[in-house]
């Protein structure tokens, strides 16, 4: 953490909740696989084995889905943070390019009452009271989405 600026630069990529969900669901997957194995090996009749195989397969699918969620969460956070630091490098329509380049890349603003964050020059936020600036990451973490007018193409 950078004490001088109060920024938590060293914050973790994953939250404790992300890690907790991963551990719980992977453990559940292991339980499904174990129970599936025990059930399957307890009989030689295929008709009785099938439900246990299904249970084990469900465990495998659950594991895969949770891994995908875990990784895409991280990928998305990294993308948002890169966007916060370096801006959107995707070319925008010529009509909006001038305004974008005239605005600092970190000047993404919102207010507590808004559900979206905006470019500082966006007419939807101009003149509003209680404006706070932040990064795309910080706004997204607060549950806000990019404005579709001034941040065309979104922030992800």
């Amino acid at each position: 953490m950078n004490a001088r600026h109060g920024i938590q630069v060293g914050r973790s990529l994953w939250t404790a909740r992300d890690g907790g969900e991963l551990v719980v669901l992977q453990t559940l997957s292991v339980v499904f696989l174990t129970v599936g194995y025990i059930g399957t090996s307890g009989t030689l009749r295929i008709g009785q084995q099938v439900p246990w195989v299904d249970l084990a397969a469900a465990g495998l699918v659950l594991s895969g889905l949770e891994i995908m969620r875990f990784m895409t969460t991280a990928r998305r956070r990294i993308g948002l943070r890169r966007l916060s630091l370096f801006g959107d490098v995707v070319p925008r329509p010529a009509a909006t390019r001038r305004e974008v380049s005239a605005t600092p890349i970190t000047a993404l603003v919102t207010t507590a009452a808004m559900t979206r964050y905006h470019d500082a020059g966006c007419p939807l936020v101009t003149g509003k009271a209680g404006i706070v600036a932040g990064t795309a990451l910080s706004h997204e973490e607060s549950g806000q989405r990019p404005c579709e007018l001034c941040l065309a193409g979104g922030a992800s």
Binding site: N2, H5, G6, I7, Q8, V9, G10, R11, S12, L13, T15, A16, R17, Q26, S29, V30, L33, G36, Y37, T40, S41, T43, L44, R45, I46, Q49, W52, V53, A56, A57, G59, L60, S63, G64, I67, F70, M71, A74, R75, R77, I78, R81, R82, L85, T106, A107, V109, A112, A120, I131, V132, A133, G134, T135, S138, E141, S142, G143, Q144
Partner: protein
């Protein structure tokens, strides 16, 4: 000694390799078990215990490896952000409460003071 230090720093990559190796061994054992009998009822437990567990371990290994890469990238962004702040190229942030997300670690959200007109 150096290996211990390496293992501490790269525990996720070492874990990934261990999972991948274990997964490959499980798949091999599953193949050997299934091919040793022609009775489907006896083959099923090998499919569940070895094949599926092998796939589970391979997935876990891949996740650990990719998460190590992502964590490296995150650290790199940390150092870039720190550098930009120290050189005044990012507005100084001020931590505030995060009303919409108070039960989450993301409540550590930083809001930068507006330098608006």
């Amino acid at each position: 000694m150096d290996f211990v230090k390496y293992a501490r720093n790269q525990w996720d990559r070492i874990g990934a390799w261990l999972c991948v190796i274990a997964g490959a061994i499980e798949l091999l054992l599953g193949y050997l078990g299934v091919s040793a009998t022609r009775e489907t009822g006896k083959q099923m437990p090998y499919i569940v215990s070895n094949a599926m567990v092998g796939l589970f371990l391979l997935g876990l290994g891949a996740m650990l490896w990719l998460s190590a890469d992502l964590r490296d990238e995150w650290r790199k962004l940390d150092s870039i952000e720190r550098h930009l702040i120290e050189h005044g190229q990012l507005p100084a942030p001020t931590p505030t409460a995060n009303p919409g997300n108070s039960g989450n670690d993301n409540g550590q959200v930083l809001r930068r003071e507006a330098s608006l007109r």
